[in-house]
């Protein structure tokens, strides 16, 4: 196995060190940081916006670019959290707990530098773990059959819902189902019959995943900014840039955060590798763990600008971002909304995600992993000195920013199909998604359900055909049964939480708004 791994690493190094791929990693990190830093825009939007650009590249280069955009966007989001307390997405919320107070105390440069070093450490440790875990997992997964894949997909979708929180479980499951429903639109691949096309030729190929991603994230974010009159330009002015140039972190401070970075890298990676958990849980759990482990003196600093409190979620979310590539690359199951978009991109490149990719397209598999090393180094040495300049982005007024977000989203979709019907449909979906988001229904599960829907139906069909129409495939193969038991485990957790919450509110005499 180790020999195969070394061979693979060599292929990955060779692919990554092609000049075009080095440029692409650099560009990905840069553009990811750039988009991630814009208030309201997270990694899902950043990755979705860049997909049209990757269609002209070979799959390995395209995936390297998207991976760079992903961790660049996480890094950029942290900057936004620290400087203006406006996290672009949930994974960087915990960063603001201590990063923003530190910036308020007149140390924004130090806060950004600690975030950068922690991100680098979390990302690098996680890539080493990814390099070991991914081939092992892929080797095991090579023996998987259709029934195992079907069970895995159900587990992935259940896990996404399970991590949605005690009150959000059913809503997340419902959104997964809506995503699965949308995936059935178009021509059925097996029988060739049309489903929900309403006689429209434009719907014969189904709904484009890129259009759905842009509509549910990029356009909706822009519309929410308009609706809520969110304007960050008053919070951060370009003349404040000078105060963030002091990026010095002392040796003593380094010593203090070193154990935190080590622990949170491991925790973040394992959390990220769980289907559905992702960077958000990685950052919050890391923050919670370090708060519990901190001395009484340090604990009192939490929430007031603690360097441990800043380092922990930053390390955790970056490690989890890399960890989320384990289920994506080895099983073809996305661990988060962003990796779901990347899975969609892989399918669009004509690559079948999963363990077969490890055997048939090792250059894609290993190039993504090896490029992460390079990406982490680029993020540190390039972005750290560029932070003061990047921060000027926060001063871009919303009345210029939002039309540009819309423009890039629309053009991204239009340039793939050259069909204006997609633009009209994108607007319709964005309007519906906007209402859903205002009603507090999550969007990432829709994307996951949509992307896995076709694969899930195929595997279910094959499993039923192999077992002559019997659902015995769910328990007859030991692997399938183990996966199904894990799914049950994921279901038990939120259901138990829900029951406890119901009892608690009943005891409190709450009458509920029915």
């Amino acid at each position: 196995m180790w020999e195969g791994m070394l061979d693979g690493m060599w292929i990955g190094i060779q692919t990554t060190l092609i000049p075009v791929n080095i440029v692409v990693v650099l560009f990905g990190c840069f553009i990811g940081s750039f988009i991630g830093m814009l208030p309201g825009l997270g990694p899902i939007t950043a990755v979705a916006l860049m997909i049209p650009v990757t269609y002209g590249l070979n799959p390995a280069t395209g995936m390297v670019l998207l991976a760079g955009v992903y961790y660049g966007a996480i890094f950029g989001g942290s900057t936004c959290s620290i400087l203006i307390n406006a996290p672009g997405e949930a994974a960087t919320v915990a960063t603001a707990f201590d990063g923003y107070p530190m910036a308020q105390k007149g140390k924004p440069g130090k806060a950004l530098a600690i975030a950068a070093y922690s991100s680098f450490t979390g990302g690098t440790v996680a890539v080493i773990l990814l390099m070991i875990a991914a081939p092992m997992m892929a080797s095991v997964a090579k023996s998987f059959q259709s029934s195992d894949y079907f069970a895995l997909m159900v587990m992935g979708l259940t896990a996404v819902s399970a991590f949605a929180g005690k009150g959000g479980f059913l809503k997340a499951v419902l959104m997964v189902v809506v995503g699965l429903m949308l995936s059935t639109v178009g021509t059925d691949q097996t029988s060739g019959v049309q489903r929900y096309t309403f006689g429209s030729l434009d719907l014969l190929d189904g709904i484009s995943f890129l259009m759905l991603a842009m509509a549910t994230f990029a356009l909706t974010e822009g519309l929410l900014m308009i609706l809520k009159r969110l304007d960050t330009t008053g919070v951060f002015k370009s003349e404040n840039v000078g105060s963030i140039s002091d990026l010095k972190v002392t040796k003593k401070e380094f010593k203090k955060i070193l154990p935190t970075m080590g622990r949170c890298s491991l925790l973040g990676f394992f959390i990220g590798a769980l289907p559905g958990a992702g960077a958000t849980l990685g950052s919050f759990l890391s923050y919670g763990m370090e708060r519990n482990l901190a001395s009484k003196e340090d604990r009192e600093e939490f929430g007031k600008g603690s360097i441990i409190g800043l380092s922990a979620p930053e390390t955790g979310n970056n490690a989890a971002s890399s960890g989320s590539f384990v289920p994506l690359l080895t099983l073809g199951i996305p661990g988060s909304g962003t990796t779901a978009v990347m899975l969609g991109a892989l399918i669009a490149y004509g690559i079948e995600p999963g363990p077969r990719m490890f055997v048939e397209r090792p250059e894609v598999f290993w190039a993504v992993i090896m490029s992460m090393y390079l990406g982490n180094v680029f993020l540190l040495i390039l972005n750290l000195p560029l932070i003061p300049y990047f921060a000027r982005l926060l001063a871009v007024p919303k009345n210029i920013l939002i039309p540009c977000i819309f423009f890039f989203s629309i053009i991204g979709v239009y340039l793939v199909t050259f069909n204006t019907f997609d633009i009209e449909m994108m607007v319709a979906i964005a309007a519906v998604a906007l209402v859903a988001r205002l009603l507090n229904y999550p969007m990432a599960p829709i994307l996951l359900g949509f992307i896995l829907g076709g694969l899930m139906e195929d595997n279910l069909r094959r499993s039923l055909e192999i077992y002559n129409g019997s659902i015995a495939f769910l328990w007859q193969r030991p692997v399938t049964m183990v996966i199904n038991l894990m799914t049950l485990g994921f279901l038990v957790m939120p259901v138990a939480q829900m029951i406890l919450a119901f009892r608690k509110s009943r005891r409190a005499g709450d009458r509920f708004n029915a």
């Binding site: 650009v53 002209g56 009150g167 959000g168 059913l170 809503k171 499951v173 419902l174 189902v177 809506v178 699965l180 429903m181 059935t184 059925d188 097996t190 029988s191 060739g192 019959v193 049309q194 489903r195 929900y196 356009l219 519309l223 308009i226 609706l227 809520k228 009159r229 009345n399 210029i400 939002i402 039309p403 540009c404 819309f406 423009f407 629309i410 053009i411 340039l415 204006t420 633009i423 009209e424 607007v427 906007l434 209402v435 859903a436 205002l438 009603l439 507090n440 229904y441 139906e457 279910l460 039923l464 055909e465 129409g469 829900m498 919450a501 119901f502 509110s505 709450d510 708004n513 029915a514």
Partner: protein, 160 residues
């Protein structure tokens, strides 16, 4: 009814319509006897959607955010601008084929800037024209993508 339940109610309506739509999916002669056919998944998903929506409607709301009324959720939002913006996006989609990428995009961006309150013509032009023309050159000359000129140029005889 709180906002969470209104969302579930809308999903319930969608699921019912989707489930009923499954009956209209045509089946080939051979697939009618198959264990799983083109209708199976939509039918199962329709039922799942109905069941989960009903569970959300019938069970108590846990999240504080979900207990807010529709009035509270929608209060103070700038709907007028958002609707205007969606409107110009639809128009952008409709005119792109006729006016071509460059003109329609510049028009869209400038109208968008104006709707959102930008009044400086210099800022609007400087933010839109270089962006659109730069992107056009990047797509056409560097990435080699063909972007069709607007139909209007053929109609008025500029391009033959």
């Amino acid at each position: 009814m709180n906002s969470e339940k209104i969302g579930a109610f809308l999903c319930l309506l969608f699921s019912v319509a989707y489930g009923l739509g499954a009956f209209t999916i045509p089946l080939t002669f051979l697939s009618q006897d198959e264990v799983i056919n083109a209708r199976t998944m939509p039918f199962a998903l329709g039922i799942a959607g109905v069941v989960i929506s009903l569970l959300i409607i019938l069970l108590p709301t846990i999240e504080a955010e979900g207990r807010r009324s529709l009035k509270e959720v929608f209060a103070g939002l700038d709907w007028q601008r958002a609707i205007w913006f969606l409107g110009i996006t639809v128009i952008y989609g409709l005119i792109m084929k006729w006016l071509g990428f460059i003109i329609s995009s510049i028009l869209f961006l400038n109208t968008g800037f104006y709707i959102l309150g930008e009044r400086s013509l210099k800022v609007m032009v400087l933010a839109s024209v270089p962006l659109v023309i730069g992107l056009f050159f990047l797509m056409s000359y560097i990435l080699g993508m063909y972007i069709a000129p607007g139909e209007i140029f053929y109609m008025i005889g500029v391009i033959k």
